[in-house]
């Protein structure tokens, strides 16, 4: 067994300096942060702080050394073996043939010590939230291991390993077809800012109106004259928009320029590799046949301006985000592109997954609203009646009761308006195309999603209807896809009920 690189200890101990510092404050907050602290000034507290810090840091040092000594990996003829852990020891064995995804991660501290983390995964449900094999090695060793494992997963054994396949860069920063160029990144940032500003303005106008009604009905003098009220309201709204825009701008710049730095999609025989990141470099490799679905998403503003992003769903990777190597950011194929370019881009990367034109559409508009109207209507009536009864019983004045009722009615109208717009968008979006055992599902309201997947990844079809809808030949269809999460469903609403029969036939052929 070969041990992990010593750089693991050094890089971990560097981050542990920070953790120890935080831990001192958390564990001994009474000693240093409390008002009744025994230390009169900072000079008296420093030696005690240093002793506490060193004690905690020594525990980290001991743990890192023990972890290093207990960890190791080896590549045998048919499998990769790995063992790690101090208190809970884990030994993993993964057959080369079962290798599902190979990922490399290198953050800025790792790169200081020239190391990287390699995770190899089988896509098993048992290890859905943790990689099967973890190796911490010098960056160049990890690169060599990735190449070797990519070859081994094809042949299954070391003696039969062929030369690593030639890499063909499909889409990259320098590619003429798709380039996440600076101009595109700025446009992406601008769209994020416009989206944030749009919703801030929308909610601000609502707040101004509601408070304005309150001011008119309850004669709230502390809000000043109407002129003063509107002036301050507009100023606060402008301030809010500006503040949110600055935060969005900083977040988007970090995301676009640092997170997606050097974004490259590479093809290696039957595998696809996605690399990106400046401070934390990711290199994710997985087989074509493990790709379950391609998802094209468009938010409302992106939809209006004709832009989209493309994500991949891979069998063995859960859809939940989380602090683990398997979920983090794997799904992105194209972070931002023109909607019209999608066919051309997918033609180069995943030609099998080019979306087909929609063949069916939603057959009726009202069902998109009917159940919402019924449930929301009942809840609103119950809530308003209950509030009214409580206010009357408490002897509140008629003006206050009217103001509260108007407020509740206004909020209900707003929710209804949003649902109405969402239903209209869904009515125009929902539909499906079935073509040569490839399915393209169009769905969503404010966020439009086009999901393309193969019939072989479909595990069940569910037809959902109500007695009234059945009478009119209407049904929604839920398609269950292969996944190692609890479930992964794609839904298409309010279609002809013959659609599910067609899918069932395809499924059981």
């Amino acid at each position: 067994m070969k041990r992990f690189d010593k750089g693991y200890i050094y890089s971990s101990l560097l981050t542990d300096l920070f953790y120890s510092f935080v831990a001192v404050f958390i564990l001994f907050d009474d000693l240093f942060l409390d008002e009744e602290s025994p230390f009169e000034d900072i000079t008296a507290a420093v030696p005690v702080f240093v002793v506490c810090f060193l004690a905690i840091y020594l525990i980290f040092v001991a743990y890192r050394i023990l972890y290093y000594r207990a960890s190791g990996y080896e590549l045998t003829d048919r499998e990769i073996r790995c063992h790690r852990g101090v208190l809970f020891r884990k030994r993993s064995v993964l057959d080369y043939k079962k290798v599902h995804a190979i990922n490399k991660k290198q953050n800025i501290i790792h790169s200081l010590f020239g190391i990287a983390v390699l995770t190899v995964d089988s896509g098993s449900a048992n290890t859905a939230h943790q990689a099967e094999i973890t190796v911490i090695e010098k960056s160049e060793v990890v690169d060599a291991l990735m190449r070797e494992l990519n070859a081994l997963k094809e042949t299954g054994e070391r003696s039969g390993a062929c030369e690593p396949k030639r890499e063909e860069v499909l889409l990259s920063d320098k590619d003429s077809l798709y380039c996440f160029s600076s101009a595109k990144k700025w446009l992406y940032i601008l769209i994020n800012i416009v989206s944030a500003a749009f919703f801030t303005v929308l909610f601000s106008i609502l707040a101004i109106t509601v408070i304005g009604i309150g001011k008119a009905m309850l004669e709230l003098d502390f809000l000043g004259t109407w002129g003063e009220y509107f002036l301050y309201a507009v100023m606060i709204m402008a301030g809010g928009v500006l503040l949110l825009s600055i935060f969005t701008c900083i977040g988007s710049i970090t995301h676009a320029f640092i997170g997606y730095y050097g974004f490259t999609v590479t093809k290696r025989d039957r595998s696809i590799q996605i690399s990106y990141g400046l401070l934390e470099k990711h290199t994710n490799t997985f087989s074509y046949d493990r790709i379950k679905a391609v998802k094209i998403s468009q938010g409302l503003i992106q939809r209006i301006l004709g832009f989209a992003s493309i994500r991949l769903e891979v069998i063995g990777y859960t859809v939940e985000s989380g602090d683990n190597d398997k979920a983090a950011g794997l799904g992105v194929l194209i972070p931002f592109c023109k909607y019209d370019e999608i066919g051309e881009i997918l033609n180069r990367v995943l030609p099998d997954y080019i979306p087909s034109e929609k063949r069916t559409r939603a057959v009726s508009f009202f069902p998109f609203l009917s159940w919402f109207l019924l449930i929301f209507g009942i809840l609103t009536v119950i809530l308003m009646t209950g509030t009214l009864a409580l206010l009357v019983a408490s002897g509140v004045s008629a003006t206050v009761i009217s103001a509260v009722m108007f407020g509740m009615l206004g909020a209900a109208l707003l929710v209804f308006s949003l649902k109405l717009v969402s239903a209209l968008l869904s009515y125009h979006t929902e539909g499906i195309a079935v073509e040569n055992r490839k399915l393209t599902v169009y769905s969503g309201g404010f966020v439009k999603t086009v999901t393309v997947f193969m019939a072989k990844h479909l595990v069940a079809v569910e037809n959902v209807t109500t007695p009234l809808r059945k009478k009119h030949g209407i049904a929604s269809v839920v398609m269950h896809l292969k996944t190692n999460a609890s479930s992964n469903e794609v839904k298409v609403h309010i279609q002809k009920d013959t659609l599910s029969d067609e899918l069932e036939t395809m499924l059981t052929l």
Binding site: S394, V459, A460, T483
Partner: protein
Amino acid sequence: MKMNKLDKSVLKLWYIHAAIGALALVLAVLGVAAVLIATEVSGDIVLTVLVSVGTVVALLLGVILTLPLLRYRMYAWGYDDKRIVVKQGVIFRQRVVIPVCQIQDLHRTQGPIMMMLKLSGVTISTAGSNFDISTLTTEEADRLIDALEQNLETRVEELKHEEI
């Protein structure tokens, strides 16, 4: 495909579950009433809260107690050599079709009340979601599992040259 209805003892089980739920609900309401009375809130408010909550609870009790019968009437299941079909739902009616070749594993489960009534639940696990055939008699459940196992083997043999 022949669709099967559930055994009558399943209805008994569902009514026991409904009675437990209803009892819990009534106890919760009594608890709220006791707290309100103990905290010396004005009589009008207590009355308003109790009437509102009481109305909602009465409606819920009605739903809890009628639902098992409606559910029982709508439930049907069946299978052939290629697929398993489950129909259920009172207002939203679902019809789930699971191809036999997608079965990963089959589970039979029993809780204490189910054991007393000689009933079992069957869960069909696929490479994606899990699907339940609500509650069958233990004998039916065993027969179903044996038949599905047999059908799975035959189907895998039939499809061994195809990508599934």
